[in-house]
């Protein structure tokens, strides 16, 4: 009762025809640029961007030898760990709150989606205005409420600026964690909790023995994706400080953007890209191994 007979060759190649457009698209616009970046990282490149032959690891040694780079690297690690860590904890707590049934829950969910849907550059502009010392909205608000009497300088040091950027990063990352955790929470069968209540388990026991293990897969996906996004996040730092003063608030991506498009050091910028790529590769391969393992189960 087979409907149509294809030749065996067509049958064997058919799946590849189906994935061909996607493979082409990703090859040209992702794989080729990756190749370019690696090629440039090992090349001598003129200010005009013309490749002048093989350069060995000179770009890397220049980057690694510069004073700015160690600051940039530690900034990037602080930025990624603090933003991902805190937004995961806060997002999960928020998800636990929203998992209760209460009046207005739909409205609360709709409001909490806002930062996720807003383009980062605009969110960052709003924060830049809020924390401004002379006319910022935060000072205006606190003065109107009578909490302060004169303007407070919220950003006295580069570190303070960076802390505000981290706060903004956390603010925009929470919704994603919250909603992925929430979808995990809502798929938990209520009978688990009923059984636990009968056995006399209190709230915290239920949280650690039922809820957390069951939401773990959702939270893991969210965390891995967040590590990648946050590590690569450009607009917040770029909008608020552009990495200034003197690279004190730069992360890897803003640093390489400046190297490539402001300072005409494309070779070094490519080397920074490769270093960032290698750091992420470790994270992604860990994730891929665990994801594929689950697929086999």
């Amino acid at each position: 009762m087979k409907p149509k007979k294809h030749s065996p060759l067509l049958n064997r190649t058919e799946p590849y025809l189906w994935i061909l457009p996607s493979v082409l698209l990703m090859s040209i616009f992702i794989i080729v640029p990756i190749g370019c970046v690696f090629y440039m990282a090992f090349s001598k490149i003129s200010k005009a961007g013309i490749v002048k032959g093989f350069n060995g690891i000179e770009n890397f040694s220049k980057v690694l030898g510069s004073k700015a780079f160690s600051v940039v690297l530690s900034n990037t690690l602080v930025w990624t760990v603090v933003v991902v860590g805190l937004s995961t904890v806060l997002g999960f707590i928020l998800a636990l709150l929203l998992n209760n049934k209460f009046k207005g829950r739909k409205i609360a969910r709709a409001i909490i989606v806002f930062p996720w849907a807003t383009t980062l550059v605009i969110q960052a502009c709003a924060w830049k205005f809020i924390i401004d010392t002379d006319y910022g909205a935060l000072n205006t608000l606190l003065k109107s409420l009578g909490i302060i009497s004169s303007n407070v300088n919220w950003t006295p040091t580069p570190g303070a600026y960076f802390a505000w950027e981290i706060a903004c990063g956390i603010f925009v990352t929470i919704p994603f964690v919250c909603f992925t955790a929430l979808s995990g929470l809502q798929s938990i069968d209520n009978s688990f909790y009923e059984a636990a209540t009968v056995d006399g388990g209190n709230y915290w026991q239920q949280l650690f023995h039922i809820t957390l293990p069951l939401v773990k897969p959702s939270l893991t996906v969210a965390t891995v994706l967040n590590i990648i996004y946050v590590f690569n996040s450009f607009p917040i730092v770029w909008t608020i400080t552009k990495g200034d003063p003197a690279n004190r608030t730069d992360t890897l991506v803003t640093y390489l953007y400046k190297l490539a498009f402001y300072n005409g050091k494309q070779g070094e910028a490519a080397a920074v890209s490769v270093i960032g790529f290698l750091i992420l590769l470790v994270c992604a391969s860990l994730y891929m191994v665990s994801a594929l393992k689950k697929g086999d189960e």
Binding site: P3, K4, E14, P15, W18, P21, S22, V23, L25, M26, I28, F29, I30, V32, P33, G35, C36, V37, L94, L97, L98, N100, F102, A108, I111, I112, V113, A117, T119, V121, I122, C125, A126, F129, Y135, A137, T140, T180, L182, S183, S187, A222, L225, I228, N232, S233, F234, V253, Y257, F261, A269, S273, F277, L280, A284, M288, A291, L292, K294, G295
Partner: protein, 284 residues
């Protein structure tokens, strides 16, 4: 016994009040930047820069919302954003649907490798590859063009597209398509007439998500587009965010135009999207 249950009830009521209080505060906090944008967009320039500013504008200057359309090519920016987002969505779907279908319904050598490749491709944000992307765009003569941005957005959204769609397709039983093939449909017809209509909710979620991502994209557009008339909103509105002076009232008025459409779109898909993202992840 009575006292005991009353105490439990009182505790429950207290917890409930606490819950409302906390959630209400979080909502206020979340809305604060938007509140600031709106009130600032309604203030006059001298009022914004005065040292004794008030929370609300002394007198709402609604004309700010009209002025931006003359002070900057806002209509052009909006059209560009629309073209980029729509084009990226169409290309990402045209490439992604067949790939997701093959992954969900066929078995072939290299399937795991392809899935692995998709997952790895997610770790490359365009910003890390900007130098390479710039070179590729120069080769195709696509720097400073909307088409170039469309291809980049479509490519970098492929992973999500395939991920979400594969999950949707896997959740639908293949029996109906098999029945259709027995009735003489080929695979393409079975996909178009049988699977896609059933998968519509997942497809709509996916395409809105790509649309929003492309609409919100900033970094690549900032780097590739130099003509003012080709800028999307995210880059264009920075015309009010100059080095020497920032026209906050115009910047925020324009920003509100840029974020409102996508926020509303996003609310409509949020529920399907999150379950799709995690489901796709758990399934590999």
């Amino acid at each position: 016994m009575m006292v005991e249950s009353r105490r439990i009830n009182r505790k429950k009521a207290l917890l409930r009040i606490l819950l409302y209080f906390v959630v209400f505060d979080i909502c206020l906090f979340t809305l604060y930047p938007y509140f600031v944008m709106l009130t600032t967009a309604l203030k006059s320039r001298p009022e914004i820069f005065s040292m004794n500013g008030k929370i609300f504008p002394i007198q709402a200057v609604w004309s700010n919302f009209v002025d931006i359309w003359q002070k900057a090519p806002m209509a052009k920016y909006m059209l560009n954003s629309m073209v980029i987002a729509t084009g990226s969505t169409i290309i990402a779907m045209l490439c992604g649907i067949p790939a997701a279908y093959a992954l969900a319904r066929m078995k072939f050598k290299g399937q795991t490798a392809f899935l692995g490749f998709i997952i790895v491709s997610q770790m490359f944000a365009p910003v890390v590859l900007l130098i390479g992307i710039y070179k590729v765009m120069q080769f195709f003569k696509l720097t400073d063009s909307l088409l170039g941005l469309i291809f980049i957005n479509a490519a970098f959204n492929q992973a999500f597209t395939i991920w979400l769609l594969r999950g949707t397709f896997l959740s639908i039983s293949p029996e109906m398509e098999q029945a259709a093939t027995i009735d003489g449909c080929n695979r393409v017809q079975a996909l178009l007439r049988v699977l896609l209509p059933v998968a519509a909710p997942g497809i709509v979620t996916t395409l809105i998500f790509i649309f929003i991502n492309a609409w919100n994209e900033y970094t690549v557009a900032l780097c590739l587009i130099s003509s003012d008339t080709l800028k999307p909103l995210t880059v264009g509105i920075n015309i009010f965010n100059g080095y020497n002076m920032i026209e906050w009232q115009y910047l925020f008025a324009a920003s509100l135009f840029a974020i409102m459409p996508v926020v509303i779109l996003f609310m409509s898909i949020e529920k399907n999207l999150t379950s799709g993202l995690t489901a796709g992840g758990v399934k590999g």
